[in-house]
């Protein structure tokens, strides 16, 4: 028995045979549709009595062929008739809700509103953190030590290798490029000033911030986001556990504490890389470099660098938690908010860095 759906016009009557099901229709669908659309079939009587199966996909096809009207004469079994009636009962083409694409002004407006919305969210999160801290001072037993330690380990200890590698390479590169220039002027010794100030005060903190935003910031957003998708956050609340103390606060504290240490570590390694390169290029020995470093770079620079690390760490965790809490329970929103978290964190870090640069413009610059 042939299964494929067939259509014949016999003595002014349309006769269908075979299985009219989606899987059988698919192979020869184009030709069949062309035949159905051809000669005015809708006005003829139809005979479905030899059709072995008729599923709803085929019923829709027939109903459309008949221009959404019953044909003048239809021979069909009770079941086929029911399948067709179900299709007939559906409302035909609904009033297509034309979604107007927003114009330029409208889009700018939405962006501004989103900006205010985010700023409000950040302020609320900050306020909540202060309230939580006050609460913890009053009830020290509720301090989430375990979560704090876990976060410090994940965001700090685990980040040591990558920050070291990147720091070292940047140190080598800057030292190498500067040495090429300095040698032309015979100002070899200034390599110490250049490396010292640029790495300790500027490059170390910013570099680590970018790495940590990509590494830990995204992880924090994704973690809180998934907890929202899977309702874990609600489960916590249901057990009477404060989500802000147990989930958000440890992240904020951990990253704030850990970042200055990472900055110190990465800056030290970067200087090591710079020293290495200076030794090879300019023949400056290590002891000489270290001795001059103390003279050329006032301690204020180190304080500024570590201070930046502290603030950057807080900013990254703050932004990460904010966007994590904004995740709607679907995967699309999760990925969008993770991206936003990283981009916003890096942008804010650069912005804060500029503010630092202006505010500390008179501090720590070596006088010649």
């Amino acid at each position: 028995m042939n299964l494929s759906p067939r259509l014949q016009v016999e003595s002014g009557k349309v006769v269908l045979t075979g299985q009219w099901t989606l899987s059988e229709l698919l192979p020869g669908l184009k030709e069949l549709e062309a035949r159905l659309a051809g000669d005015d079939l809708a006005t003829l009587p139809w005979d479905l009595s030899s059709v072995s199966r008729l599923d709803s996909a085929a019923a829709v096809l027939l109903w459309r062929t008949w221009n959404e009207r019953w044909p003048v004469e239809l021979v069909a079994s009770e079941m086929q008739r029911r399948a067709l009636e179900r299709v007939a009962a559906m409302p035909s083409a609904e009033a297509s809700s034309t979604l107007s694409t927003p114009g330029l002004v409208e889009r700018v407006g939405y962006l501004v509103l989103a900006l205010f919305d985010n700023m409000q969210g950040l302020v609320v999160l900050y306020g909540q953190m202060l309230l939580d801290l006050v609460h913890l001072v009053r009830h020290p037993s509720e301090m989430p030590w375990r979560e704090l330690a876990a976060n410090i380990y994940k965001a700090g200890a685990m980040a040591l290798p990558v920050t070291a590698l990147v720091g070292f390479l940047i140190g080598v590169t800057i030292s190498y490029l500067s040495a090429l220039q300095l040698r032309n002027f015979g100002a070899d010794l200034f390599i110490v000033n250049i490396l010292g100030v640029s790495i300790i005060r500027e490059l170390g903190p910013v570099l680590v911030a970018v790495l940590v935003a990509g590494r830990s910031g995204s992880a924090m957003t994704a973690q809180i986001g998934v907890m929202r998708v899977t309702e874990e956050i609600d489960a916590l609340s249901a057990m009477g556990v404060s989500r802000s103390i147990r989930v958000v606060l440890p992240k904020l504290l951990a990253l704030t504490v850990v970042m200055p240490m990472l900055v110190l570590w990465a800056s030290a390694i970067a200087l090591l890389g710079g020293m290495f390169s200076a030794l090879l290029q300019l023949g400056i020995p290590f002891p000489y470099f270290v001795e001059n470093l103390q003279r050329a770079v006032p301690v204020a620079n180190l304080v500024i660098g570590l201070g930046k690390g502290l603030v950057f760490g807080f900013v990254i965790a703050w932004v990460a938690c904010h966007f994590g809490l904004r995740v709607k329970p679907n995967t699309e929103s999760l990925s969008a908010n993770t991206t936003r978290s990283v981009v916003t964190a890096i942008t804010l870090v650069i912005l804060v860095d500029a503010v630092f640069a202006i505010m500390t413009r008179n501090v720590g610059i070596p006088q010649l």
Binding site: S23, D55, E332
Partner: protein
Amino acid sequence: MTGTQTPAVVEMRGLSTVIGDHYVHRNLDLRVESGQIVGLIGGSGSGKTTLLRQILGLNRPAAGSVSLFGENLADEDPVSQRAMLRRLGMLFQGGALFSALPVFDNIAFPLRELKCLDSDWIRRLVHLKLAMVELEPGHGKLMPAELSGGMVKRVALARALALEPELLLLDEPTAGLDPDRSQSFADLLRQLQGELGLTVIMVTHDLDTLARLATHVAVLAEQRIVEFGQLAEVMAGEHPLAAAFRGGVQTQVL
């Protein structure tokens, strides 16, 4: 059609499944013929979901074979594997709806994947399926996260039905449905079975549904199918699990 010559829809021979280092199934045999509605029962954690995953090719047999529509899924090349999988619909225990897509697009997804149907056809089909599971066309705009637990189940069923499958695998289809909805679910499946000769394998703990719908029952215990047969036969059988179910079913039937 001669029933004996057509190959079984699902046939498992000597199937063993190993997850980690423990056996979920050991030397399991099951043969499901076209047109049967098989209720798969067994204790929690006995490996019912894993068995359905074997049929889908999501878990690989450690030993033995699974064949679908007479062909071994593992032997086929990717193109015919996909063609085979299109002939079945699966309702996952947790729904497994695409959380980023609204209900309408969830149901339309497998239809769009065919790349043969125009948008009007797809729209009508989606609305038909929504109506089949007693949802309004307006529900199509909701996101999966905005649905109630029972609605998730119904949308997942609509999606499993989207491709007009010949074989339907249902993992606890009526969990989370009220008795009325369970009843109309059973009616819907019965009607589809009558019209299209659908084959169904459903995991269920719901005695009402089992008594109303199943033509056959398979009991999964001790890592294999300990009993398989017509509803009445198995319920009269010796196995303690059947006996436990029997108490419930008899009160339903009487």
